[in-house]
């Protein structure tokens, strides 16, 4: 049962997807299946975040090699999560709804973090590609 049910769900969903391509009234079912995929993906994000925390907490607790990096990872993760979730510095689009407004509005805390911390780090990693291209070309 544990393996049969997922197979059954996958098979039915696959058949609906194929069927909806040829049978227009099945499109609603296809959209429904797509919605469920989004829900699963969102749950998987929680799973991923949980796994990340568990891995690094283990390393910090055990004082394993490089545990300091794990601590930095955890702090960065939670700071980013909290700043984004609680929309620090985001001005509401509609004063009646204080939580309205995009979380990456210019001037918000998350925007600041993205612009002045995350983007430079990512750009630096990407820039390294030039050196790797040169070394590969040389060989």
């Amino acid at each position: 049962m544990k393996s049969t049910l997922p197979w059954l769900i996958a098979a039915v969903t696959g058949c609906v997807m194929i069927g909806a391509f040829f049978v227009p009234p099945l499109k609603d079912w296809m959209n429904e299946a797509g919605g469920w995929f989004e829900i699963l993906a969102a749950l998987a994000f929680v799973l991923g975040g949980g796994n990340l925390c568990a891995q690094h907490l283990k390393k910090v607790a055990a004082r394993g090699p490089g545990w300091g990096y794990s601590a930095v990872t955890l702090v960065s993760f939670f700071v980013t999560l909290i700043l984004g979730l609680f929309k620090f510095g985001v001005v509401a689009d509609n004063p009646e709804y204080p939580w309205s407004g995009h979380h990456q509005t210019e001037g918000s805390a998350l925007w600041w973090l993205f612009t002045y911390a995350f983007r430079p780090l990512i750009s630096t990693m990407f820039a390294l590609l030039a050196f790797y291209v040169a070394s590969a070309a040389f060989r």
Partner: protein, 456 residues
Amino acid sequence: MLTSAGQTAPLPMTGASHNGPGLAAQQHRRQQQFPPTRSLVWILCLCLGNFWGATELPAQSPESRADDASTEISATEIDLAPPSALLARDHPNDAGTAIDLTWQLSPDDRADRKPRLVLGYQISRTLADGTMRETLDRVTAGVSEFTDRSCEFGTAYLYEVAAFGPGQSVSVTAQLSGPVQPARQWFNRSRAWFGMLTIVVCGSVVFFTEFVKTGRGTYVRPIAGLQAINEAVGRATEMGRPLLFVPGLRDMNEISTVAAINVLSHVARTAAEYDATIEVPTNRSLVMTAARETVHAAYLSAGRPEAFNDDRISYITDEQMAYVAWLTGYMVREQPAGCFYLGIFFAESLILAETGNAIGAIQIAGTSETAQLPFFVAACDYTLIGEELFAASAYLSGEPHQLGSLKGQDAGKVLAGVLLVTGCLLATLAGLFPGSPGLTSTLNYLVNSILGRGGA
């Protein structure tokens, strides 16, 4: 299927134009444009000009010229000719949620007229009883069709189209003579050929699966990269170092990622048999879950479930370059003896492959991203090129249903090749003999019906 269609009748100017000005308002505007006091001043100026012997009229200031221009536009606000011959048809091959509208352009909708009198058309609809009026959209001038995709199945609608111009000017509306109701089709006929091709390919998969089960047709040409898996795992065991398996940057809905997970199953089983350690960092949590299940099953099938450690299959991050930073850091610190890069890769392909090369690992890569293949070929020991990645699972497992699927796909490729050659021949012949209507119509049928919109 046509369910209802109507043609418009011109409506009275004053009553039908719901947004346009009435006659009283027009007269009032004209009086404002030429007020009596202003006319008196104008006549007085003319007299004075004659008195001083002037022969020319005084030059107009820019402001007054602009005023005249606006006067010209304003004067046309009431004179917009409406569109005509409004027709509504059910949108074909849908679930009864769309209606196609067509109309004849307003006679004032002319591109050579500057400034343009008609800027576009406004489409509105009501329910069949005239209630629930709503404006659907505006289309630009010169457009004479619109598809309303917001219909509800089983509901009848009345449509109106009006031309609009500068300012608030709107023509009288073109209306349907009767309500129209969308119809539902149970089969998308534009995809009939596509359906037939699907049946042929799927049928060939089933046929070849049964064929392989009888013990015939099981040959798959050797793939060097897959034969080297045992070599890489054995080397890792001898050196006491781990293996690194990177399943790409995309989620489980990508077929390349699924193929990578299939190869992971074989690599993990071999690693379990050799007592080697395998590390699978992922950048999608669903991939992590699938990889854990796969590796666990591989260890079980190898008879070593106690050696399985799910901490070694972990989620790192969704971010591309952050993921690369983790991977390269791990490679430099742990010095894995073998690195597998299978799945979908982008700019990080060369960073990973060069780092692996620098630490002296055996590297086996495979991707369906053709742009990244040269980088893998340059820096890795073995590369699965294109479809070799998808064939890997069948090649490694040797299971009849996978081999049958592989051969069925080959049949599909042969079919695609035949269609391609036929199309090229037809296009060439149609170019050589342009007067042949048979060739042209056959080519058009092949392009538009068999290959074209069917897959759209």
